[in-house]
């Protein structure tokens, strides 16, 4: 049975924990706001680029001259998984979700007889995956989200992926990350980067009428020509997609942290209530006992 002093200490300690979690929640909320704005500001570029790539890909079609970044290497053996997580913890199930998803994917790919390599962005992803897959982690990049996400970093990563691809280190590259859905929910997302997935075919099957844009795409003129533009555009698209994933993940991280800290603050409050109740009860019991002692002492005289 804890005595009164222990209870008092316990209450002070939980109170200070609550202060910390409340402060972290506020910090996460303000960072979330900025991250969300940045993510939204970056959307138009990525969308336009996708549209342009779509028209180019539709125009170049299945011709022999399609660059490997678009057409792939004709093989499907080595997969590179780029796992985007945060550098810091205390954000609920945010990183666990990505790690779990990545693990399931790796196991499935391995079961299909593929070779898998991992590139981790963010420390937590590495921490979570190295227990099972330490030998296949190619590299870990940390500190990308120290202050805020920079396009230059994303672009460098894109260039690095393009180089690895050229060197034949992998055939297919997939990006796994948490997509920011709302301040309290993130969606685990798997996105193929290399070869660039041409959306056209699938969508055309679904709705043939609203896809008038595709018919238009066929009549674009190109300066200088499709191959040159694609050769320039595809590596850049890698950077853009990386940038987008990093921004989404960064915004998601802060959303998750905000939610986690909010519930931690609430739990601390509940705990303080319970502790105070038992503290008061005990105090009263002590007083009562003392009074009974005095009264019975007086009676005995």
């Amino acid at each position: 049975m804890p005595n009164l002093k222990d209870l008092r200490l316990r209450i002070t300690s939980v109170k200070s924990t609550r202060k910390i979690t409340a402060a972290m929640k506020m910090v996460a909320a303000s960072k979330l706001k900025r991250a969300q704005e940045q993510a939204e500001a970056a959307r138009p570029y990525a969308e336009r680029m996708e549209r342009m790539l779509g028209s180019l890909a539709a125009s170049i079609g299945e011709t022999q001259s399609a660059p490997p970044l678009l057409a792939g290497t004709d093989r499907d053996h080595t997969h590179l998984l780029v796992v985007v997580t945060s550098d810091r913890g205390l954000c609920g199930g945010f990183n666990g979700q990505v790690v779990r998803g990545a693990r399931a994917r790796i196991n499935q790919l391995r079961a299909d007889g593929k070779e898998v390599k991992i590139l981790c962005l963010g420390r937590k992803g590495r921490d979570g995956l190295k227990r099972y897959f330490e030998t296949i982690i190619v590299d870990t990049v940390e500190g990308l989200t120290r202050r805020h996400v920079l396009f230059e970093d994303a672009d460098d990563l894109g260039a690095r992926l393009a180089k690895m691809f050229e060197d034949g280190e992998f055939d297919v590259c997939t990006l796994v990350y948490n997509r920011f859905k709302s301040a309290i929910s993130q969606e685990f997302t798997v996105q193929q980067l290399i070869p660039f997935p041409v959306m056209g075919t699938e969508e055309e099957e679904k709705d043939q009428e609203p896809k008038r844009d595709d018919a238009l795409a066929a009549i674009y003129e190109f300066e200088p020509d499709e191959e040159t533009i694609l050769a320039d555009l595809l590596p850049r698209n890698l950077g853009v997609q990386m940038y987008r994933a990093m921004l989404e993940s960064y915004a998601g991280e802060h959303g998750a942290r905000m939610a986690a800290m909010d519930s931690a603050t609430r739990n601390a409050g509940d705990m303080i209530d319970r502790l105070e109740l038992s503290y008061n009860r005990k105090r009263q019991a002590a007083i009562t006992t003392e009074m009974i002692e005095i009264v019975s002492g007086a009676e005995a005289l």
């Binding site: 570029y45 028209s55 320039d232 940038y243």
Partner: protein, 138 residues
């Protein structure tokens, strides 16, 4: 409006310009081209240079871009640029400095083994040159 073209200038960080204008002149790799409403659809690479936005028959804004891509349809002109800033914001001295730095980098490469690096340096030099030119004209 039928006699205007929707012009958009987008950088990775944000949508910089989105407005209806009379005409834009875009520095394409195969020469500058003006975009008026009803222009034939074109996708073009953009070289480092200046985009002129025309209104009322004269140039109303000039924006420097460090290369990118342009997509033109009959009613729209979208330019994707990695780096863009209004010409009047270019600091001539800074532009000169950048040019000197880029020249030094090209003439005295520190790692000549990597062709990718060499390409990047050559690109940087072209961007810097174009920026200095833009600053002088602006």
């Amino acid at each position: 409006m039928a006699d205007q073209v929707e012009f958009e200038l987008v950088s990775p960080a944000k949508l910089l310009v989105s407005e209806a204008v009379e005409m834009v002149v875009v520095p394409g790799v195969e020469g500058d081209f003006g975009v008026l409403p009803g222009h034939a659809p074109v996708i073009s690479q953009v070289r480092p240079g200046v985009i002129d936005i025309h209104g009322d028959g004269k140039v109303i804004r000039r924006i420097f871009v460090a290369g990118g891509f342009a997509e033109v349809t009959t009613e729209r002109c979208t330019v994707l640029a990695e780096e863009a800033r209004p010409v009047e914001d270019i600091d001539a001295a800074q532009a000169e400095q950048r040019l000197v730095a880029a020249r030094t980098a090209v003439e005295h490469p520190t790692d000549d083994a990597d062709p990718g690096e060499a390409r990047a340096r050559a690109r940087e030099l072209r961007v810097a040159e174009a920026q200095v030119m833009a600053a002088q004209q602006g």
